[in-house]
């Protein structure tokens, strides 16, 4: 979530799902919310019942569109052109320029008035590039993106980009400027180098006509959206945005979300009821998996993963370069030391660098896509898969399968035998005894399929879309040999410790000294998930007394904490806040503070200081949420304040008394306390690898040249062009159609939990391709005809579902057809179909290395594939 992190300080949804019901306008873009988040969509319907306008912008007319007031069709991958058009419309509108609300909000709470370095050059000047582009390194040097005379540390650990990596000490020194004065600004917004003026120049080309030309959205519809947004913003009204993987699955995904974040800043919609950005997550606990995290480039709680490519040679140096002088992250040493204490217990001490040297350093991009390439190349010999089905969900599935066939061993923990566990005898190439392979008889990978327990068969917590931890109890015992993932990891750890118990080799010390003392229950020695959550919450060391707030964490080793942002979830030995289920009654505040626990510190709307005006008064009675109580000298309201609770609105740091660190360097009007300057970043000086302001680039595979700039694609995009992962060139006549892939309500992702359930499988029993009737007519394809869809990576067959819900687009004077395919299907289970990700390529967003499954190109023809065994495999 680097986009929300870079803009607001934390990579998570800013609001709570149920708060969407308070919105006057809901925009759903990059999400098919009704289909993929049907439960959350009830709150959109509640907002509608109260009179809100609902907008859906999407390449396809979906079940979400059917419930909206405005449906804006946009070509897959053109979102930034559309969003940039909105930004341009807003900042040039009468309303925005003349309503004092907007000026007060943006000047105080965002960096719109901040002055950027004089040598900054914008994409509008450099034909799609920003200053600092290093063509030989395919990356930016972001020195010129900094605030004038300062160096601004990123808020992100996961995408840490130091402005001057070549000379970290110079950067550290320049960062100290933040402790001596507020960043330079021009509150009149006239300075040509202030963010507002840069923003104006950057988006000047994003006119309604250009929006239509690039995205295909009719100008009239676009203007209707823009007016609706403006009309539902201000003191009395707020609007919310909901997005999901329809934005993240692009090579420009991070910048799409950034564009929405800018719009929400400009409209004064962050930190307020009925406002915010709801990042709808792809699975039930994906938020948890980034918090805790399962990502390779972060330690728990968004702490930076030690890296061989950064100045992290020892603990002191690591802490020095990773601790920003101002903002909440100034507390970083407390969190990392408490984490190391939790991991290594009494073996960690100040003298031995808290055992920092034991943490492996990353040496490259180790995320899933490069990992699959490394497997294909034989660099990785063994693979543990827990809740993953990469043959279906991984991109360029044939390459993935080729890699799996190279492995020596693979462990798959699943509830059913999935495609990944059965690829060696059931994939099309494995079954083709005369084919190029890998054929079944040649595959030597040893595969262990271990039966996994389902959620109802184990206890634990989910962290959902809105950062809410909800505990669930075990309902039934798992059958037979099925075990929970926690059981598996715990016993794997125990056996490793046993294996190395007598080793004298120093490299085995981390395993020998890992604290792994969770109590177990029963004959199967099921570890206590409760004890794990207590450790995640944190406690004093060595007494193990639960702590209530992360403000109690110390950098002297007297506290241990697994995930600092979760502190408060288990504040007392007898109180698991995540298990609490007390809703507010209709006359209550409606924030439901006793229903589960939302990180950080049970705050439901983040940055809620912004729900009050500069003086700390509610913007309006209708949108009352948090306010400054002058008598008690504290912030109060319906939620827990996401601000220093007794910092007055008129507080000004007195720099004449010496340097100010942490949030003391922020004034009383700085709601975004994670960032170095306490403001929301409309302009991102550091933390992102591709742009300080969202810019329209075409998807890596596009039928058209970029109508806006000479620069075709996102400049630092991650590409791996090779014989087994080829890309289509721009406008390749062999692959003239845009294809977008997606999920259906009826199935869940790789669909192992759904394709094996008869009452779900019958609802969407086969794969299909949605095709607009205009294209079907050209190709003489009738409904339910078999068709072959192909890319340079591979070809598959499917049935045609001809529907007007897909439409042709007129892009830059040309008619572009787009087709769509749900990607759930495979050869296992009751609902089957060819693997759609055979078509897609391995390619990545520069910040996240997330693929571009939402927009690439393909060809299609009527007919079927010649296969030894014709048709869709049935089991």
């Amino acid at each position: 979530m680097p986009s929300l992190g870079a803009t607001f300080g934390r990579g998570a949804a800013t609001t709570a799902q149920w708060d969407i019901a308070n919105a006057d306008c809901v925009v759903i873009m990059g999400s098919n919310m009704a289909e993929n988040h049907p439960i959350a969509f009830r709150f959109v319907m509640q907002a509608k019942e109260k009179g809100a306008t609902i907008i859906h912008a999407d390449p396809r007319f979906t079940r979400t569109s059917a419930l909206c007031d405005i449906y804006a069709p946009v070509r897959a991958g053109s979102d930034i052109a559309f969003l940039g058009g909105l930004i341009n419309y807003i900042i040039n509108s009468e309303r925005w320029l003349n309503d004092a609300f907007f000026r007060e909000y943006v000047v105080n709470y965002t960096n719109i008035a901040t002055i950027i370095e004089d040598n900054f050059q914008d994409a509008s000047e450099l034909d799609g590039l920003f200053s600092g582009w290093q063509a030989e390194k395919l990356s930016y040097n972001v020195d010129s993106w900094q605030y004038r005379g300062m160096d601004i540390p990123a808020t992100l650990a996961e995408a840490y980009v130091h402005p001057s990596t070549e000379d970290p000490d110079k950067a550290i020194e320049k960062q100290q400027e933040l402790t001596r004065r507020l960043p330079p600004s021009d509150r009149t917004l006239q300075d040509p180098k202030c963010v507002y003026q840069i923003l104006k120049r950057h988006y000047a080309a994003y006119t309604p006509e250009m929006v239509e030309r690039v995205s295909g959205c009719p100008k009239k519809t676009f203007l209707k959206v823009a007016e609706t947004l403006l009309n539902n913003a201000g003191r009395e009204r707020t609007g919310a945005w909901c997005y999901a993987v329809g934005w993240t699955h692009h090579t420009t995904g991070v910048q799409m979300i950034r564009a929405a974040a800018i719009i929400q800043c400009l409209l004064g919609n962050i930190g307020r009821p009925g406002g915010g950005i709801l990042a709808l997550r792809g699975h039930c606990s994906i938020q948890g998996s980034t918090d805790v995290p399962t990502l390779y480039n972060m330690l728990p709680g968004y702490l930076p993963q030690p890296s061989a490519m950064k100045p992290h040679k020892n603990f002191d140096r690591y802490v020095e370069v990773e601790t920003p002088p101002t903002g909440w992250w100034h507390n970083f040493p407390k969190y990392i030391i408490s984490l190391l204490r939790a991991w290594y217990g009494n073996a960690a001490s100040a003298e031995n660098e808290w055992r920092y040297p034991w943490i492996p350093k990353i040496v490259a991009d180790h995320s899933q896509e490069p990992m699959m390439l490394a497997i294909a190349d034989g660099l990785i010999r063994g693979l543990l898969l827990i809740g993953q089905n990469p043959v279906i969900g991984g991109h360029n599935s044939k390459l993935v399968r080729k890699g799996l066939a190279n492995l020596e061993w693979m462990v798959v923990r699943e509830t059913f035998e999935n495609e990944t566990a059965s690829f060696w005898y059931k994939s099309p190439e494995a079954k083709d005894t005369n084919g190029a392979g890998p054929r079944a008889q040649d595959i030597k990978t040893e595969i262990f399929l271990l039966p996994a327990a389902l959620p109802g068969e184990k206890e634990g917590s989910f962290t959902n879309t809105q950062r809410l931890l909800q505990w669930h109890d075990k309902v039934v015992e798992p059958p037979g040999d099925c075990r929970s993932d926690l059981w598996f990891m715990f016993h794997l750890g125990k056996r490793l410790k046993q294996l190395y118990a007598n080793s004298q080799d120093p490299k085995d010390e981390p395993i020998k000294n890992l604290t792994w003392d969770y109590p177990t229950q029963g004959a199967q020695e099921v570890p206590s998930a409760d004890a794990v959550l207590k450790e995640i919450n944190g406690y004093t060391w060595p007494e193990r007394k639960q702590i209530e707030d992360f403000k109690e964490l110390k950098d002297d080793g007297s506290t241990a904490c697994g995930v600092w942002i979760y502190t408060g979830v288990y504040p007392r030995a007898d109180f698991n806040h995540a298990r609490s289920r007390k809703p507010d009654l209709p006359d209550g505040p409606g924030t439901h503070l006793d229903w589960g626990f939302a990180w950080p510190s049970n705050r439901r709307i983040m940055y809620n200081r912004a729900s009050a005006d500069a003086e700390g008064k509610p913007w309006s009675e209708r949108k009352r949420y948090m306010w400054w109580d002058g008598e008690k000298q504290q912030w109060t309201g319906k939620d827990n304040p996401d601000f220093s609770s007794n910092k007055a609105p008129d507080y000004q740091p007195d720099f004449s008394q010496g340097p100010k660190n942490g949030v003391d360097a922020h004034d009383g009007k700085a709601p975004f306390m994670m960032s170095a300057d306490g403001k929301a970043w409309i302009f991102v000086p550091s933390g992102l690898k591709d742009a300080p302001l969202p810019t329209h680039y075409e998807p890596v595979e596009s039928p058209v040249r970029n109508p806006m700039y000479g620069q075709q694609e996102n400049p630092p995009v991650k590409k791996w062009a090779r014989a087994d992962n080829p890309y289509h060139r721009v406008g390749d006549p062999q692959y003239p159609y845009v294809i977008t892939t997606y999920r259906l309500t009826e199935h869940h992702s790789g669909a192992i939990p759904t394709r094996f359930v008869p009452s779900l499988a019958e609802l969407q029993p086969e794969g299909f391709a949605e095709i607009p009737p205009e294209l079907a007519a050209e190709k003489s394809i009738a409904n339910l005809d078999w068709i072959v869809i192909s890319t340079a990576r591979g070809e598959i067959e499917s049935r045609a579902l001809i529907t007007e819900r897909l439409r042709p687009f007129e892009i830059a004077g040309r008619r572009i057809y787009q087709i769509g395919m749900p990607w759930h299907f495979g050869w296992q289970g009751y609902a089957t179909g060819d693997v759609v990700n055979v078509l897609s390529s391995i390619v990545g967003d520069p910040n996240t290395t997330i693929h571009e499954g939402k927009a690439f190109t393909c060809n299609l023809r009527k007919g079927r594939l010649q296969r030894p065994q014709q048709g869709v495999a049935r089991t």
Binding site: E35, M45, A66, L67, D69, W471, L763, R799, L801
Partner: protein
């Protein structure tokens, strides 16, 4: 629906037993014998998620249909049957009056219609009227249920139902259809489909309360420009015709009933008996007279 005050009494996930009158918490209504209950299905709130179909099959332990793509939009179960008691139909009508794909849409559901169909639990009920064995009966909750242990499989109820709801199942030769979760109602639980519906498109309740709520909903929709919204199956509306006073499962629709595969004017079979008999007698008489005349002429 707002949170019921009783929700505060049940804050534990592991409970000693079933919550008494749980429907009061989940649907705002107590379930007591002697009163009339039913469904108000508001299509303008339906998102086509099919949670109702799945909840129904799971609770009632109904088997899946054939795993086959129909090509009919996102509807792959086709119709109500002996084993599908909730069925969501999908009707695509993307184009506006000018023949263009619409971008400015009517509030709430439009352009891709989705409707969760179910047994109407008619009052009076045609199927019940035609049943010779008494297998079909009216329950203490004013719903209509088939008792398979009494059903002789004659199938009279099948053509009697004007909605095509009842079907005789091949494996057991008995009639099957929605029971409005008779077993759940007895336990104070709202029916599975209504409980699973995330957007309250399916609302369960006492029928008179549902009628009031539905009429207000129509008024509200009209005020918001949805002049096409109307009730189907409430007293004195389409669907409650020709001797059927009301459908205990009634609907809010925005297009003609036929579009949703509903008859515009369903009727009780007994209403069809007399005209059928009279026309038969008239035909007989006409033949007789013709014959007499013909013979007399010779």
């Amino acid at each position: 629906m707002s949170v019921h005050p009783r929700a505060r009494e049940y804050t534990e996930s592991l409970l000693p037993g079933v919550i008494p009158q749980e429907a009061e918490l989940t649907a705002g209504t107590r379930i007591e014998p002697g009163r009339s209950y039913g469904f108000f299905t508001d299509t303008t709130l339906c998102i086509g998620c099919k949670a109702c179909e799945v909840a129904c099959k799971e609770w009632n332990e109904l088997p899946a249909e054939e795993f086959k793509l129909t090509g009919d939009s996102y509807d792959n179960t086709g119709a109500l049957s002996a084993t599908t008691w909730r069925h969501v139909s999908f009707i695509e009508k993307l184009k506006d009056a000018n023949g263009d794909r619409a971008t400015e849409l009517a509030p709430f559901q439009s352009n891709w219609l989705m409707m969760s169909d179910v047994c109407k639990h008619c009052s009076p009920a045609p199927c019940l009227e035609s049943c010779p064995t008494g297998a079909l009966f009216r329950t203490e909750f004013d719903t209509v249920v088939v008792q398979q242990d009494i059903c002789n499989g004659c199938g009279y109820c099948v053509p009697a139902c004007p909605f095509g709801v009842v079907e005789v199942n091949v494996p057991d030769g008995k009639a099957h259809k929605c029971t409005l979760c008779y077993d759940r109602l007895k336990g104070g639980l709202e029916p599975a489909c209504a409980k699973a519906c995330p957007t309250d498109s399916i609302q369960f309740g006492e029928i008179s309360a549902l009628h009031d709520r539905a009429r207000k909903r129509v008024e509200s929709l009209h005020a918001q420009g949805r002049s096409d919204a109307y009730l189907y199956g409430a007293p004195d509306t389409l669907g409650a015709t020709n001797g059927i006073n009301r459908l205990n499962a009634f609907f809010l629709l925005t297009d003609r009933p036929e579009v949703y595969n509903l008859p515009p004017q369903p009727s009780l079979p007994s209403r069809r008996v007399l005209p059928g008999l009279l026309s038969g007698l008239a035909t007989m008489a006409a033949i007789a007279i013709t014959a007499i005349v013909a013979l007399a002429g010779e």
